[in-house]
Symmetry: C2
Subunit: 396 residues, 2 copies
Amino acid sequence: LAVRGKATHRDTRRLNEQLVLRTIYGRSPISRADVARLTGLTRTTVSDVVDGLLAEGLAEEVGVGPSTGGKAPILLRVPADARHLVGVDVDDDKISGVIVNLHGEIQRREAVPISGRDGERALADLDGLVDRLVAGAERPLLGVGVGTPGIVDTAGGVVRWAVSLDWRDVPLADRLRVRTGLPVSVVNDSQAAAMAEWTFGRHPGSQGMVVIKVGNGIGAGIVIGGQLYQGESSGAGEVGHSRVVPEGARCHCGSRGCLEVVASVRAAVARAGALSAVYPGSVLGSGPVTFESIVEATQAADPLAMRVAHDVALPLGRVLGTIVGVLDISDIVLIGPMTALGDPWLSVVTDEARRSALPILAQRTRIHIGHVGPDVVELGTAALLMNSELGLALAA
Amino acid sequence: LAVRGKATHRDTRRLNEQLVLRTIYGRSPISRADVARLTGLTRTTVSDVVDGLLAEGLAEEVGVGPSTGGKAPILLRVPADARHLVGVDVDDDKISGVIVNLHGEIQRREAVPISGRDGERALADLDGLVDRLVAGAERPLLGVGVGTPGIVDTAGGVVRWAVSLDWRDVPLADRLRVRTGLPVSVVNDSQAAAMAEWTFGRHPGSQGMVVIKVGNGIGAGIVIGGQLYQGESSGAGEVGHSRVVPEGARCHCGSRGCLEVVASVRAAVARAGALSAVYPGSVLGSGPVTFESIVEATQAADPLAMRVAHDVALPLGRVLGTIVGVLDISDIVLIGPMTALGDPWLSVVTDEARRSALPILAQRTRIHIGHVGPDVVELGTAALLMNSELGLALAA
């Protein structure tokens, strides 16, 4: 039996600070009186807390609002550049990083190509990239957020298993904390992306969201009630190894017919090669095919490319149908390189997802392409840090 | 932006009452002083609240504990029979109801056979059953809980769609509230079952749980952080229509190859018929087969029955693998008629689930048969009412 006790005095003070900061951030420009009204805190408490925020530079006064009888109230806001954050996306082929402000505006970008598989080298490249970003920061840094593929223990800051990077039990947060002296948060890349779409993606009316990142790997991030749902061991959303083709080809995970084997970017390239003899007139020809050439050919409605888009979309749609049935959630957002296939792919994913869940549930789920763009993982790690360090949360 | 304000005075009083009651319920026998220590409330507040609970019969004094220097403290508990509840399970072929006390002990059972498909008749049968149970109650009733298949809007108490009963938008809670004058809670049957396994099932160390009910229908209930997760429209866990066989047989939902078409009790019977020619020596013979005869034949390791158990287990295991990947949850609990197939079925479900999720996640998930038994839906509706009406919650 879990008994929750009263909050301590110190907890209360911190919660009040976060409540006031969150209110100013979400409703600015706003007066102290309106903050008190919205939060239920007394005017005195609000004034005390605001004095502290002004001193820390986390709030500023920005003029006066309309008078409601007495003196016109002074309005407050959180300056976008009060703090900056470092956000990093560790991908198969490159590590990208940004410096971003509290409004999610990118201030600077850095990237370094990596060859997956050499885990030590990738770590050294990550160190270098973080060093350069931290050194170049022009405002106080709130922290460093890193998104990586694989299973990440977010509480411990440890990458438990990232196959494509050959990382096993890498204590990434400790490593970067010692290096930079800053708070560090490490999270699965799809989970970070989900937080970014939720926070910065402008999806009006969304109550919950599953964000699926489809590249060479396939993973999902889940936002329920405005919070990232990570499951019991931070592994929630690891759908890349759902077995969708019982006797399918081997997967690097040891099983067969996993979603990643039939619905990933690599699967699309393999499928184009396997089908080229069936479509002799295809602009893709009969030689080696790249994913970029498939994307181009799809835009020209090339029959082979259209068939490939269809074939890799079907199993993904089927897994999405199951996700809709399990979670009953209003938005499924697709991101990652595969989305470049556009409508010939998206329409098949959507139709198959609707055929793979009870109609009464499937009808209300919207399936669409993400809004945030290529910095989605970096922005997601920043959103998580803003939440953990300052209690800031933007609703969708 | 959602701003949560302070609790009002009235809210605080109700929360304190629930906190004290929950503490006595979960830790009894317990002294007022220990309640104060565990909850962080003052001794005075605890004494006031306990006086109210004693007056309502929700607490009683049960002797004295060891003295810690001063006067030996009086110990408190919640009497198991302080309130009784009515719990009802509306199934395909019968409606069952119980009267149960606050410890989940069954006081009385009633059942009435129904022929599904006649929705009006089923409603009348439900009314009659509830009337008899309420009339026979020997203690004050806390309320009536009803579990039904299909999509149930729990907040509104409306059965939105129960295919097997031909119920569409039936305002069941209002109907029974008017009839009985008691609080009524209506919930999907698998969701209720999940709450029962969590609350009464004794699954030590469980952090979260997915309970899958496999009969003619297949549905899941999900408990995360001790709470029933119902999704945005109370539909969470509706996995019966996950499309597992792309070109499979038609389902009553309009799609093809749904999990219910290949993994339900009905599917097992159909599969036995289809395979009987291949196993001429089977004890099941070549005539019409019942599910009961398959269960018996499985216990005798009859080859046809074993094959049927295997074939209906595989697609279920595959969907469970996806659920493990999505939710990252420690316990999957199987309940319902299909579990009678025992180990030949369970072992295939378990193996295929492990092959259908990333090993690092699948390893930590336990898959087993439920502990609560045939009253699981009734007990689950009671657990939900105890929680909504009194704030009582037993942790696993």
